[in-house]
Structures are given as C-alpha cells and as structure tokens.
C-alpha cells in the first residue's frame, strides 16, 4: 500500500515537472531548417519521390547502416542464446485449410514484400518493411507446413553477402562519388520511375534481403527450440 502511494507520488511529481514543458511547446506548424532543406532539395538532388527514404538512406545513411547492425547483432545473439534445446509440448498438425491457404498465400506475400522494398524510393515502405513482410510469409509457411526445411547455411550466406554488399555500395560511393553511402553513385534517372534515385533501390534491396533473412532465421531458431 505504502509502496503504491510512493509510486503515485512519484508519477504526480513527474507530472508537475513536465506540465510546463508541454504547455509551452506545441508541435509547431512550420518545418525546422533541416527538415525544410530536405523537402526542397531531396527531389531535385536525388530524384526520390519519397523524401523519408532520401533522409534514411542517403542524408542519414550512417544511421541506417547502424540500424541494420542492431538487427544483425540481435540475430547473432538469439542464435547462441537459443542453443540450449528443450523438449516442448507435442504440437497439433496444421489443419487442411491452414496448410492449403498458406501455400497459396506465401508466394503472394513474398512478392508483395519485394514490391515494398524495391519501391521504397517511390512509395511509403522500404527495406526494413519489405524484409518484415517477407519474414511473415515464411512464418505462415512454418505454421502451415510443420516440417518446412529452412537451410540455415543459405540464410547465413544471404545475410552476410547482402550486408557486405550494402557496405560495398557505400565504399563505392566513397571512391566514385561524393562520399561514403552517397546515393549519387548512379544517375538520378527519370523522376518517379522504378530505376531512379541513384543507389537507393539497390541499397533497399540489400537491406530487404538482409532483414528478411535475419527475421526468418530468428523465427527458425524459435521454432526449432519448441
């Protein structure tokens, strides 16, 4: 009881501290300088329709490389943390509806995932989102066909090679264009077409493959641990 009272007091105290900040600071209706520059320059310099993508992949590309790494580390961590196998409860076989439906849907979902990561510079979406969608297709497949074999060696290869290719594109930018991860390595192309915006679609393809394979291998580890 006393403990809860303390918690309540602490929350109330935080509220008293925070209210002045909230009351004085709205979201504002003008973009700040940095954001305004992005909105004006990105379509012209990089040829991207989706400005968020331009910020993520090009202007702040080093952050994105870091985010890719965080997932890479998480996969590596899950990999050895789940090494200890334990026997789980026996699982029911999937029903006819699930296994048939899963087999029909899986290729469509993979296709949609590829669409999302390859059109990241044109429409909302990108490598991370596309990768996650691909992983859900494999999750569905795992549920609908219990014995679905996942070749972990192949996953490691795709994961490592696409990660290294991402880095290589970055280094090529350093050698041939303005600097590390500069997307102007390839021409900006026709505004709004699939093959435009320099190396952005290429980088998003590598990220999509990497994120997809990483999540699939995490799902596979979790499954084989059951």
């Amino acid at each position: 009881m006393i403990k809860r009272l303390f918690v309540l007091l602490a929350v109330a105290g935080m509220a008293v501290i925070l209210i002045p900040f909230v009351s004085g600071n709205g979201a504002g209706d003008a973009l700040n300088n940095v954001a305004a520059t992005y909105v004006e320059d990105a379509p012209r310099d990089l040829g991207t329709m989706n400005i968020v993508t331009a910020v993520i992949v090009t202007y702040r590309g080093l952050d994105t490389l870091g985010e890719v790494l965080v997932l890479f580390i998480a996969t590596a961590g899950v990999g050895f943390l789940l090494k200890k196998r334990r026997e789980g409860d026996p699982v029911q076989p999937p029903s006819e509806i699930l296994s048939t439906g899963g087999m029909i849907l899986m290729p469509l979902i993979v296709l949609f995932g590829i669409y999302v990561f390859s059109h990241g510079h044109l429409t909302p979406g990108g490598g991370f989102q596309g990768g996650v969608i691909i992983a859900t297709a494999f999750l569905l497949a795992m549920l609908s066909a219990r014995r679905l074999p996942i070749y972990s060696g192949l996953l490691t290869w795709i994961e490592s090679v696409s990660g290294f290719a991402y880095l290589a594109v970055g280094v090529l930018g350093l050698v041939l264009a303005g600097g590390f991860l500069d997307s102007r390595l390839l021409p900006a192309g026709r505004y709004g077409s699939l093959l435009s915006s320099g190396t952005i679609p290429l980088i998003y393809t590598f990220i999509g493959l990497k994120v997809g394979t990483e999540l699939v291998s995490i799902l596979d580890k979790l499954r084989s641990n059951q």
């Binding site: 501290i17 002045p20 900040f21 004085g24 600071n25 700040n32 300088n33 940095v34 520059t37 992005y38 320059d41 090009t58 202007y59 702040r60 590309g61 080093l62 952050d63 490389l65 870091g66 985010e67 790494l69 965080v70 890479f72 580390i73 998480a74 590596a76 961590g77 990999g79 050895f80 943390l81 090494k83 200890k84 060696g153 490691t156 290869w157 994961e159 490592s160 090679v161 990660g163 290294f164 880095l167 970055g170 280094v171 930018g173 350093l174 264009a177 303005g178 600097g179 590390f180 991860l181 500069d182 997307s183």
Partner: protein, 498 residues
C-alpha cells in the same frame, strides 16, 4: 579525411564476413579478428599522428552543410576523440590476442568475434560521431553487442546478469532517446556543433536543461556512477574475461563518461551547477565503490566494484573544470583502461587455470603462474596508486588539482579512497597469489603463450604510461584532449569553421 570512416567500416566489413569465414574454417576467425583490431590500432596511431591535435571533420556521403544547415552526418576527430580511439583500439587488440586461447573453451568463436568487432565498431562510432542521434545509434550497437557477449556462456548466472544489464541499459537508452527528442524539438538540430551554436544563442532554457537532465541520468547509468551502478557488479563478472576487460576497460567510459563530457563541455557549456553534479557523483562513487569492493570475495566482482570507484576519480577530475583537473581526469581514464583490463585478464587467467574466482579457495598461485602473478602485481600497484606506476601519476594530478581548486574535502576523500584501494588489492594478492599453496592447485600451470603476451604488454603499458606526462608526448596526446574540454564552446567553430 576519409580515414575516420575506416574506424567504422573496417570492423563492420569483418563482422559481416565472419559468419561465412568461420563456417569455412573456425580457426580463420582468430586471424580475421586479430588482423582487424591490429589494423584499427594502426589507423588510430596514424590518425592521431597526422591530425597532431587539430580537429578533422569528415562529412558522410559528402553532405556538407547547405547554407549552414547540417543536412548530413559528420564524423569529428579532435584531441579527445583521438585519445579515446587510441586507448579503445589498444585494449581491443590486446583483448583479441588474449581471446585466441581463452575463448577456445567456449563454442562458436565466429559469433564471438562477430559480436566483438561490432562492439568495437560501435565504440569507434560513438567516439567519432559529431551527430547526437548517430552517437545514439552507435551506442546502441555497442550496448546490444555487449548484452549478447555478457550472456556468451549461457549458464544461469550469465543469463541473469545479461537480463539485468539489458533492463538497466534499456532504461538508460530510453532516457537518452527521450532526451534527444526533447533536444531536437527545442534546438531544431542534431548536429552537436550546430546545437552548440543554437544553445549559445537561446541560453539554458528549462527545456534545454530538461534534456540535459535526461542525458545526465542516461549516460550516468551507462557509466555506472553511484547511484546508477546496480547493473555493473553483475554484468562485468559474468562475462567471459576478455569481455569483462573491454566492458570495464573501455565500454563504460566510451558510452558514459565520453558523451557526458562532450555534451556538457562542448555543447551545453559547463556551468558551476553541472561541475558540482560531476564532482559529487565522482566522490560518492569513489568512496562507496571502494567500500563495496572491500567486502567482496569474488575476484571479478571485486574488480567490478573498483571500476565504479575508479570512474569516480575520472569524473571528479573532469568535473573540477580546471586545465589540470581535466588533464588528470582524462589521464586517469586511459590509465584505468589499461590496468583494469589487465586485472580482468589476470582474473581470467586464474579462472582459466583453476575454474574458480572465489578468493578464499585460491592461494599460493604466484609460483605456479609467475607471469599472471607478476603482471597482476603491476596492475594492483597501478590501481592503488603507488609510484612509479601510471595510476600514481594520474591520481596525484587529480588530488593536486582538487587542492588548487580549493576543494580540500574532495582531495581528502580521494586520498582515503586510494588507501582503501591499496588495502583491497593487498587482500587480493594475499589470497590469490601468496599464502600457502593449496593441495588441489598442485597441478596448476601457467596460461598459454598468447595470453601471457597480452598481459605482459598491458603490464609494460602500466609501467611506461607515466611517460605520457613528458611535455613532448603530452603535446600530441593528453594536452589536445584536455584542451578540447577546457576550451568548451569553441568546439562549434573548430568543427564547422568560421
């Protein structure tokens, strides 16, 4: 200068390729890991010499500021970054050398080196980044890699420690991220140099200070200053010894002390209030840390508590804000990296040979393990601050600086902390290396060659680092680093020019 980029992409490239390489042949991962850390050390020595104390900026992707608006991310190497890079990469190389034999006991060396290189990439990134959010991303890379590495043994103790570390580390990251959000909303920029200009214009408004409070709490948690220390005594001992050495030796400094200094000296501009917070946290950590250490009987846990205490000296010295105090604090930072890493490697060697870290179970190992024993004596004298070892010089400078700044009470407490540290390490020496040799340790042998080499190099550094105070050497290492903090807000001009 694109050299700055190599500190990040070289270990990354290695980490991406290692899963494939180690699949082909496990022993290749040793070579790759060591080659990459050696290359990084070469880059840092080369970088520090060519920069010779000047500030070098690299704009990633070639995105220079457009009309003074920083659209991209910049990497900055100044005196302070140079010093930190040197010490991180020295420790990393010696630790990978030690890992070759030590980690053979664990499975999956490929994963170990992958995570290790990612951790090093994150550390280098934090040191070099001139952008607040980018700094956070690299900080997360290091933190998440170290959560995984702490749990590398996957026994119950390791998993529990890693979980606690993750919860408190995650809390710290959340506080820092919230701070960044408030900071960005107020200043409209994430670039540290640009933000420094903005803050100089608007002053320390309540919102800016609120972000500062969040940073202070978050980074102090990462630095494990008392009262933010609860995770450290579990996480550092549970990790494999080379990782303990990295965590205590460099990680708490790069993720905790370095961003605190960078933010409050170079971006906010130091004020007496912030200095007082630094000094009080420092002294409390010195005294409580060493008292907590005195009652420990687990070798590595004792060392972990001493890390808290020694970080206190660093923060106390820097918090004084005088040129001498800052110099002493930074000098103690790099000295602590060396002797604490060595002590953890010594503890690792003892565990390697005997499989226990209980002080009461050990005894008389000096004769059986002469290299481990001798190097641990060097390290113990260094941490206790006996002349002529490196710890003596830096503590001396900090105490003199305290007296000069009129902080007599802090000076006295710092001396008391040092005496108690000596006591604590006399205990370690007696119980582990001297005393009578127990029957069950009759067949103990010295650890393999590469582990000895690594410890000997560390010990030589402990003896030789006092030379850093010589004017000629100090002029390219310590002096520029201390100047960066002492000249504070000039950082913005040095990085962005004009």
């Amino acid at each position: 200068m694109s050299l700055l980029l190599y500190f990040i992409i070289v270990p990354l490239g290695g980490a991406f390729l290692l899963p494939i390489i180690s699949r082909l042949r496990e022993s290749l991962s040793d070579w790759v890991g060591n080659a990459i850390t050696a290359l990084l050390l070469y880059c840092s020595v080369y970088g520090v010499i060519t920069a010779s104390g000047k500030t070098v900026t690299y704009f990633v992707g070639g995105w220079r500021p457009i009309a003074d608006i920083p659209v991209g991310i910049n990497l900055v190497m100044d005196g302070l970054s140079g010093l930190m890079l040197l010490i991180v990469n020295i420790v990393a190389l010696l630790v990978t050398l030690y890992s070759v034999n030590y980690m053979a006991r664990y499975t999956d060396k490929g994963k170990y080196y992958t995570l290790f290189l990612l951790m090093v990439a994150g550390l280098n990134g934090v040191i070099l980044s001139g952008d607040l959010f980018n700094l956070f991303v690299f900080l997360e890379i290091t933190a998440i890699a170290s959560y995984a590495l702490v749990a590398f043994g996957i026994e119950d103790e390791e998993l529990e420690a890693s979980f606690k570390y993750q919860v408190l580390g995650g809390t710290a990251s959340a506080l820092i991220l919230l701070g960044i959000a408030v900071f960005y909303q107020t200043t409209g920029t994430l670039n540290l140099a640009d933000a420094s200009r903005v803050i100089a214009g608007i002053g320390h408004t309540p919102t800016v200070l609120f972000a500062g409070v969040l940073f202070m709490a978050g980074f102090c948690l990462k630095a494990a200053l008392i009262p933010f220390h609860a995770w450290l005594p579990d996480a550092h001992p549970a990790a494999p010894a080379p990782i303990s050495a990295m965590l205590s030796g460099v990680v708490i400094k790069v993720l905790g002390v370095y961003p605190l200094c960078r933010l409050f000296f170079n971006v906010y501009g130091i004020t007496p209030l912030i200095q007082d917070i630094f000094m009080v946290l420092g002294v409390v950590s010195i005294i409580l840390g060493v008292f907590l250490a005195l009652s420990q009987w687990d070798f590595k846990r004792l060392l972990a508590y001493h890390s808290i205490s020694q970080i206190g000296y660093v923060v106390l010295g820097i918090g004084l804000g005088t040129p001498l105090g800052i110099l002493g604090g930074l000098f103690h930072l790099i000295n602590h990296s060396v002797f604490k890493s060595l002590l953890f490697l010594n503890a690792g060697s003892v565990v390697y040979a005997t499989d226990t870290r209980e002080l009461k179970e050990l005894g008389g190992l000096q004769r059986k393990m002469p290299v481990t024993g001798a190097t641990s004596q060097v390290a113990s004298f260094s941490i206790a601050g006996l002349p002529p070892f490196n710890g003596f010089w830096s503590k001396l400078i900090i105490i003199v600086a305290c007296v000069q700044a009129g902080q007599m009470l802090f000076a006295v407490l710092a001396v008391i902390g040092s005496i108690l540290t000596l006591l604590s390490f006399l205990k370690v020496q007696r119980y582990v290396f001297f005393d009578a040799l127990k029957e069950k340790w009759k067949n103990v042998r010295e650890v393999p060659f590469l582990m000895c080499v690594s410890m000997i190099v560390f010990a030589l550094l402990c003896i030789g680092m006092g030379l850093l105070l010589l004017p000629q050497i100090s002029a390219v290492t310590l002096k520029p680093a201390a100047d960066v903090l002492y000249t504070g807000l000039e950082y913005a001009t040095k990085v962005l020019g004009g």
